[in-house]
């Protein structure tokens, strides 16, 4: 028999929901932004993968949405401590986009419209772990949540899931991004609570 009832936690949380350490559950979808929200029309939108050898692979919006897409239902965890469960997305797997890209890179620096960047190991973008998402909850992704398209890497803190994504730069050496150069952890695994440098 449980000694502490879930009622004493003060949070709406089902006892069978396991969250990463230090996180609380939210039902809404907070909007976080480090600057003005870019409004990128899809007829001017472009996504470019550039390799360490200088090769570029570019997709237009039309080319992106004609690629095989997946529906993803996943939990997301923000470093500001909210977690949201079973969010529903549609997007193109990075496995599809990187399939024909020849590279020896181990690292990726993700670039967004508006100037935001974030870095992660290339292997975290592969094997069904990351998508370029353009639908959320059966609707087009709104600019506030990163539309027309954002990166979705739900196994890392959500600052890695760059909004307004416009490209991925493949690199031989790790290059810290916007928050990673301002005190945040280079990798950002929520289950190991890697919020800040040294965590």
């Amino acid at each position: 028999m449980p000694i502490v009832s879930p009622g004493f936690t003060g949070r709406r949380q089902s006892p069978d929901v396991q969250l990463p350490p230090g996180q609380y559950l939210t039902e809404d979808f907070p909007v976080l932004t480090a600057g003005p929200t870019p409004r990128v029309p899809t007829d001017r939108w472009e996504f470019t993968v550039s390799t360490e050898a200088g090769q570029k692979h570019t997709w237009s919006w039309q080319q992106l949405i004609e690629l095989p897409a997946e529906k993803i239902t996943t939990d997301i965890h923000c470093v500001t401590k909210w977690s949201k469960l079973r969010t529903r997305w549609k997007g193109v797997s990075l496995d599809v986009l990187l399939e024909d890209v020849e590279t020896a890179a181990d690292f990726a620096l993700v670039h967004s419209y508006g100037g935001y960047t974030t870095n992660l190991p290339l292997e975290d973008l592969l094997d069904g772990q990351a998508w370029i998402a353009y639908r959320y909850d059966d609707d087009d992704l709104t600019p506030e949540h990163g539309g027309p398209a954002r990166l979705l890497v739900p196994h890392l803190y959500f600052w890695k899931s760059a909004k307004w994504v416009r490209g991925i730069q493949l690199l031989l050496e790790d290059e810290p991004g916007f928050w990673e150069t301002a005190g945040y952890h280079d990798y950002g695994d929520p289950w190991r609570e890697q919020r800040y440098q040294g965590d």
């Binding site: 480090a34 003005p36 005190g183 945040y184």
Partner: protein, 87 residues
């Protein structure tokens, strides 16, 4: 509703790091050369840290991240800060 507030939002966090109120200091933007008081910056605070942008060119001039027991201040977007002192 505006997505940012003015630079006075930096006052509390900066006072903890500096002994003077830095929001009255005059900063110069590394992006466009704009000069103005820190209080005139556009601060985005619904974010993992405080991000202060130039009111003229919107480049990032100051970032401040707080963690338990420590803080990071990034001023690479600022050429200089002119800080008034009592003589």
């Amino acid at each position: 509703m505006s997505d940012h507030v003015d630079g006075n939002a930096l006052a509390g966090d900066l006072r903890e790091i500096f002994a003077v109120d830095l929001t009255v200091a005059t900063g110069q933007c590394a992006g466009c050369g704009y000069r103005g008081s820190v209080a005139t910056l556009r601060v985005y605070q619904n974010a993992p840290g405080l991000v202060a942008r130039c009111p003229h060119c919107e480049e990032v001039v100051l970032r401040l991240v707080r963690a338990p027991g420590r803080a990071w201040l990034d001023l690479r977007g600022t050429v200089s800060l002119e800080i008034p002192l009592s003589s």
